[in-house]
């Protein structure tokens, strides 16, 4: 079991979470150090989002220990130290983007520099002209960019991003990459989940490969490529998990007249 270092942005050991008979996270050990970008990759249902929701304090783990910046996950101190970007930002559709950002700042105690950081992020994500648009009127991609703006502008000890690149256009993906690297350079720890293995390969300092809630492999992208004898992270993924079942029959069934 990993020794918990309380000063890390995230230190987790033996985390387990079940929903009824289904085990979503099974004894996960995870550490995110300050200034590092850690990625969780794995197929759908492998426990990535559940792990992030536990870290963000939205779910309680059944077993295990989790500390965010030294505070137990889910506590107010831990929540205050975490900026969370969900995979599907929902709610508060009637607020304008600027009202939403002001609310986020107020709920997190008005961190110093929030206004300057959010202005820079709005400009970088191309949201400057939409600050008076309602959240409900934004496209899914812009809504995610708005959520990222709110979370990143807090500049918290730990940034948690679910489905990092989902719905983002290529320009926004570049902005996301720069923003994450800048936050890491500032000293934040970053934990992201993604299906975009090329993005993970470029951005992440270390990658954890999950399957059925268990950690299959962990290391830097280069270490993983080396240990699996693969050219890319995508090959690592396929080598570790195998080809999807039913792929060969699919063309026959769908193509049948």
């Amino acid at each position: 079991m990993t020794h918990l270092n309380s000063i890390e942005p995230l230190a987790a050991a033996g985390v387990r979470k079940s929903f009824g008979p289904a085990c979503a996270v099974d004894g996960l050990d995870l550490t995110v150090r300050a200034g590092r970008i850690a990625g969780l990759v794995g197929p759908n249902g492998s426990g990535k989002s559940t792990t992030l929701r536990i870290v963000a304090g939205l779910l309680a783990a059944d077993e295990g220990r989790l500390a965010v910046a030294g505070a137990p996950a889910g506590s107010r101190a831990a929540r205050a130290a975490t900026g969370y970007v969900p995979d599907e930002p929902t709610g508060l559709d009637e607020l304008t983007l600027s009202e939403f950002l002001r609310l986020a700042a107020a709920l997190y105690g008005g961190p110093p520099g929030f206004a300057a950081r959010s202005a820079a992020l709005l400009a970088a994500f191309g949201l400057e002209e939409r600050v008076n648009a309602r959240l409900g009127s934004l496209s899914h991609g812009l809504r995610r960019a708005a959520a990222m703006t709110a979370a990143f502008a807090l500049a918290p000890a730990l940034v948690v991003v679910d489905e990092a690149t989902a719905a983002l256009d290529p320009e926004a993906v570049v902005t996301l990459r720069r923003a994450l690297q800048a936050l890491a350079a500032r000293g934040s720890g970053i934990l992201l989940a993604t299906q975009d293995l090329a993005f993970a390969e470029v951005v992440c300092d270390e990658v954890s490969l999950l399957s059925r809630g268990r950690l299959l492999a962990h290391g830097s992208p280069a270490e993983l490529r080396g240990s699996f004898g693969a050219a890319t992270l995508e090959d690592v993924f396929l080598n570790a998990l195998g080809r999807p079942r039913g792929l060969d029959e699919l063309s026959g069934v769908l193509g049948a007249r």
Partner: protein, 463 residues
């Protein structure tokens, strides 16, 4: 932080209502009409009720007790419904619900404030009904005050009961402890407290003392509610199940009705509402039947709580249907026919749940079947109006103000329908139409109103 939360909640509520009212002058007109006329209609209804009940209250103590308990039960059911429907921190959405907000702040800003405003409005309307009723009793107008405060106390107790039972069901020890405390306070209130004193006040007893007792219970119940609400555990995610894909015979309309029933039946908040009010109805029926008002009065008064809970199903029908609008609107099936079928499905589900609840209430307070049939008829009127109210103010899981608006519209519609249909039946029977036929028409009209409103809204969607 509190002001930011409260103003965000108020902004969201107003901005949801504003386009609805601006785009639909009919809805805006109806809302304005309801605001303007509901107090007057309530006074009118109170006068009629006073004429009917005043002499009975003077003659029979049980009638006074039953009247107070009827108000208290309805208020308790409404309180439980409102508390269970309050989204709490879920209002903040999938991102900001992870923010470091104190649970008490969330409760005060997102639950207590909007429900407090709604309770004040409901007490105003209830007062308009109760003042003329009390004026016709030996206690006089002042006797309305303890009955009103008893209603407030019962509403707060209902909210505390709903919240604490929800917490206990999710494994919270605090919820279980508060539920036991609520049961104790409730039993004291019924057996030795303000309910009996309020009934005595209607018969000429001291009103000030009875009002003070009820006020004290309201404060205690409010504290218990807050205690349970700040310890509310997160909802457990529903287990994902793979279900077989089965073709439905009968086309899009049958499929729409079946899907409506399944969607409504699987909504946890609706299940909670029906279960909570059904439970309150059975408990109330048992209390009323055993010495307080007699089995028949107990059945009718307690069943009112079950009626209110089952009405949550048609109130929510349009809002739930809208959540899957992207699929329905993209399909080649005519939107209006599909909506009518979904509305019929919701009505059938609500009536089936009501029949089950009435069966359970009848076990606690035996009453003739004709009384149950009469309440099913009342259900037809109520559920038709509920469909219409829920269409005008669509239900949202995370919108406590939307839910309150829908129930307020339901209250106004029911009051107007009660008076209008009563007049219609009276004039029809005076004109020689058989009573059964007149009653049938009176029952069919609200159903048609509900289905017609749903159909109209569906045909306007996407324009």
């Amino acid at each position: 932080m509190s002001s930011a939360l409260a103003s965000a909640a108020a902004r969201c509520a107003w901005r949801r209502a504003r386009p609805l009212l601006a785009a639909n002058p009919l809805v805006a007109g109806l809302a304005a009409l309801a605001v303007a006329t509901t107090p007057a209609l309530a006074v009118l209804a109170g006068r009629r009720l006073g004429e009917a009940l005043g002499p009975d209250v003077a003659r029979d103590e049980n009638i006074a007790v039953a009247l107070v308990l009827g108000v208290a039960l309805a208020a308790a059911a409404a309180g439980a419904l409102a508390a269970l429907g309050a989204p709490g921190i879920a209002f903040l959405g999938s991102q900001l619900r992870a923010a470091p907000v104190a649970p008490l702040q969330t409760f005060v800003c997102l639950t207590l404030a909007p429900l407090g405003v709604a309770a004040a409005a409901a007490l105003l309307v209830l007062g308009c009904v109760l003042v003329p009723v009390a004026a016709a009793t030996p206690g006089g107008v002042v006797a309305a005050a303890p009955v009103l405060l008893a209603g407030l106390a019962a509403g707060a107790l209902g909210a505390a009961a709903g919240e604490s039972v929800l917490g206990a069901a999710r494994g919270s020890a605090a919820g279980a402890i508060v539920a036991v405390a609520v049961a104790g306070v409730g039993a004291l209130a019924v057996l030795a407290g303000p309910l009996g004193s309020a009934a005595t006040a209607l018969r000429g007893g001291a009103a000030a003392g009875a009002a003070a007792e009820a006020g004290l219970v309201a404060v205690v119940a409010g504290g218990l509610w807050a205690l349970a609400a700040v310890r509310r555990p997160e909802e457990r995610p529903a287990p994902a199940r793979v279900r077989a894909v089965v073709p439905v015979r009968g086309g899009a309309c049958v499929a729409s009705a079946i899907v409506a029933v399944k969607l409504l039946g699987r909504r946890r908040e609706l299940r909670r509402a029906v279960a909570a009010t059904g439970g309150a109805a059975v408990a109330g029926a048992a209390a009323l039947a055993h010495g307080l008002g007699g089995p028949e009065a107990g059945f009718t008064l307690a069943a009112g709580a079950a009626l209110l809970g089952c009405a949550a199903v048609p109130v929510a029908a349009h809002g739930v249907d809208r959540e899957a609008a992207w699929l329905a609107d993209a399909s080649p099936a005519p939107a209006a026919r599909r909506a009518a079928a979904a509305a019929l499905g919701a009505l059938a589900l609500a009536l089936a749940l009501l029949a089950l609840s009435l069966g359970a209430v009848r076990l606690a307070a035996p009453a003739p079947w004709r009384q149950a049939a009469a309440l099913l008829g009342a259900g037809c009127v109520l559920f038709g109006a509920a469909l219409a109210a829920g269409t005008l103010f669509p239900w949202r899981r995370d919108g406590v103000v939307d839910q309150l608006a829908a129930f307020a519209a339901l209250g106004a519609l029911v009051l107007a329908l009660w008076l209008a249909l009563g007049e219609l039946v009276r004039r029809s029977t005076d004109a020689g139409l058989p009573g059964v036929a007149a009653t049938g028409v009176a029952l069919a009209l609200p159903t048609l109103l509900g289905i017609g409103t749903s159909t109209w809204a569906a045909s306007r969607r996407g324009r």
